[in-house]
């Protein structure tokens, strides 16, 4: 096995000692043990697919935020922080916190009261089979592709960082994830996400602590960045966005506020079933409302272990990192900044913890995708269209089998990506096509009872098609960038925000127009699904400490303070 691990890259970023390997091995043993232990509790469909709806607000909240804290995100956003500076923190603050609070306070009661098991499940209740089928099929297809992308990304990172062969990483990670998710279902996935949360924090927190000690604090770090990169602003969030030409991302504040904050972020955090499934596992409505708000406080702190290491890389690394597409042998890419900083400050033991955190993040990403796929496949595709009235045990068995089959498809995807690298970009872009318009469809359906069945379907379809069209035009003919993004300088991240904004606007406009000329659903069919016809539980008798609205307002207030500090 050691020989298989060592096949591959001749040079590696870090070298692991015996204690590091022991730390990694213990992690694998523990997650497998937890999976086998939880198998006996995952007996019914609700157990397997929704963790019995018994999670406390804290567990659901940590799993909710952890499902998004995968290693692809950690490495990618640390690299973005190195490339674009502290502006990358927008994706953690305005690009997450308002949406999480909105999910908790406004949308979660409807998801929870309707007793749906998934977002496509809600669409079926609210609109009917057309919008639900479109959402379910595309979601199932994309999650399985994303799982493969996660698998491949982990294998590449392990090859570059540790010198492990691609095959070894793919086989070990998929076997482990397959065993523990097939055994314990969402129970296992959530338990491992909570473990991963602690691993990532304790594995990465030393980087900013020691980095700030080395640079002499925040002001020392800023001074070093200015010295190393004179004339460039990497340490302000809003100031450089008055014009797209004033910042390295080529983005205007309108794209950040309305594209990121109001479209992408709302779409991702409130309708992506991968994260919403974690909150649906909460044990009551109040816990379901609190969970995303608890998650928002931790999400606000994540820049400490992701963005700050990227900035510290600018300050302390003795060489410059370069974009992946121009990196020559011996040069390091932007996305290498986190492993480089880990190797800079962490010796034996700590290095093993940091690498284990990355492995846990990758495996949680795979497990999250596979468990969400199993649920949507079983409940939103298999049950309504293939076998309607089977016993509950049959659907649990189908969930287990679809987990295994989903992983095999993911392995195939991972190898496809290996031979066609650009596919990775397309798969990630594909995910973005559906997120922004889906938010428009779901939120209009929740807040406006007049929205008709066909309005929901055609709005969603029009939004998706707009997103795809804008993406393809800007990708293959750069002259379209200045049309859709209002600046030829817009980088891919900025383009994606404008793309989401166009898709959302189209979705809302088409939904409203079609609704006005079609017949609404009768009120009786909408009880528990829309605001005007639902008795939403309030927490008037709960102490203020237990009221979600108090904590939601607190999260938003801290968000505003952070924006002012780093303006």
């Amino acid at each position: 096995m050691m020989a298989m691990m060592a096949v591959g890259a001749p040079t590696t970023l870090v070298h692991l000692s015996g204690v590091d390997l022991l730390i990694i091995a213990i992690y694998f043993l523990l997650v497998l043990g937890i999976g086998f232990y939880l198998k006996k509790f995952a007996k019914t469909g609700e157990d397997f697919f929704l963790a019995g709806r018994e999670m406390t607000a804290w567990v659901a909240g940590l799993a909710f935020v952890s499902a998004n804290l995968g290693s692809l995100e950690l490495l990618g956003w640390a690299g973005n922080a190195y490339q674009y500076g502290i502006m990358a923190a927008h994706w953690y603050w305005i690009g997450a916190i308002p949406a999480m609070v909105f999910l908790g306070l406004v949308m979660m009661p409807f998801y929870y009261i309707s007793k749906t098991h998934s977002v496509p499940g809600y669409l079926k209740l609210r609109y009917g089979t057309e919008a639900s089928a479109l959402s379910a099929v595309t979601f199932a297809f994309m999650t399985i592709l994303m799982s493969g992308v996660n698998m491949y990304a982990m294998a590449v990172v392990m090859e570059v960082v540790l010198g492990w062969s691609l095959h070894f990483s793919i086989i070990v990670s998929s076997l482990t994830v397959g065993v523990y998710v097939a055994a314990g279902g969402l129970f296992s996935a959530i338990f491992n996400e909570v473990l991963q949360f602690f691993l990532i924090w304790f594995g990465a927190l030393l980087i900013p602590i020691l980095g700030l000690v080395e640079t002499g604090g925040w002001s020392g770090m800023v001074a070093r960045i200015h010295h190393n990169f004179p004339g460039q602003d990497f340490t302000h969030m809003w100031g450089p966005m008055s014009s797209a030409s004033h910042n390295p991302m080529g983005v205007h504040w309108i794209a950040i506020v309305f594209g990121l904050g109001a479209s992408v972020s709302m779409g991702y955090w409130t309708t992506d079933f991968l994260v919403v499934q974690r909150v649906l596992s909460a044990r009551d409505v109040r816990s379901a409302k609190l969970a995303p708000i608890i998650g928002s406080f931790f999400k606000m702190a994540v820049p400490l272990i992701v963005i700050l290491p990227g900035l510290l890389g600018r300050a302390v690394l003795p060489f410059h990192l370069v974009p992946a597409n121009v990196a020559q042998p011996g040069q390091f890419k932007f996305d290498d900044v986190l492993p480089l900083m880990l190797a800079r400050y962490c010796g034996p033991g700590l290095l093993g913890l940091g690498i284990t955190a990355l492995i846990a993040g990758f495996m949680a990403g795979m497990a999250g995708n596979v468990s969400a796929f199993a649920t949507v496949w079983t409940y939103d595709i298999y049950r309504p269209y293939m076998r309607k009235d089977a016993p509950d045990a049959h659907y649990v068995s189908m969930g287990r089998w679809s987990t295994i089959i989903g992983l095999f498809v993911s392995i195939g995807t991972a190898y496809l990506v290996q031979y066609n690298k650009s596919m990775m970009d397309y798969v990630q872009a594909l995910f973005g096509f559906f997120i922004a318009p889906l938010f428009g469809t779901v939120v209009l359906g929740m807040l406006w009872k007049r929205v008709s069945r066909m309005g929901g379907f055609w709005g969603l379809l029009a939004g998706v098609l707009t997103s795809i069209t804008v993406f393809l035009l800007m990708k293959f003919d750069p002259s379209w960038v200045k049309v859709f993004a209002f600046s030829p300088l817009a980088q891919p991240l900025a383009q994606a925000m404008w793309q989401a904004l166009w898709a959302s606007v189209t979705c809302v406009v088409v939904t409203v127009l079609v609704t006005l000329v079609t017949k609404p659903k009768p009120d009786e069919e909408l009880k528990g699904l829309v605001y005007a016809l639902t008795e939403v539980p309030r927490e008037e008798h709960a102490s203020w400490l237990h009221r979600p609205v108090i904590w939601g307002v607190a999260a938003l207030a801290i968000l505003v303070v952070l924006q002012i500090i780093f303006w």
Binding site: M55, L195, G347
Partner: protein, 72 residues
């Protein structure tokens, strides 16, 4: 969490993992006390020692608080 079915709380597993990792990291830090590994910045601060100790303390607290008493 999930008291009615007596599932061992996830926090107990968290505590267990933190304790085991804390012991390993602390031991590794002590072993390298007088001969810090080359290429690691600020090794004079002996981060593995105090970080390992912190993990042990937190691990003990979590395990003690969430020890699965009466588990069936």
């Amino acid at each position: 969490m999930i008291e009615k079915r007596q599932i061992i709380p996830v926090w107990f597993f968290v505590g267990l993992l933190l304790q085991v990792y804390g012991v390993l990291i602390l031991a590794s830090g002590l072993a390298h006390w007088s001969h810090p590994p080359g290429g690691v910045e600020l090794s004079n601060l002996h981060a593995p020692v105090w970080w390992g100790a912190l993990l042990i303390v937190l691990g003990v607290i979590y395990c003690a608080k969430y020890y699965p008493r009466g588990e069936t």
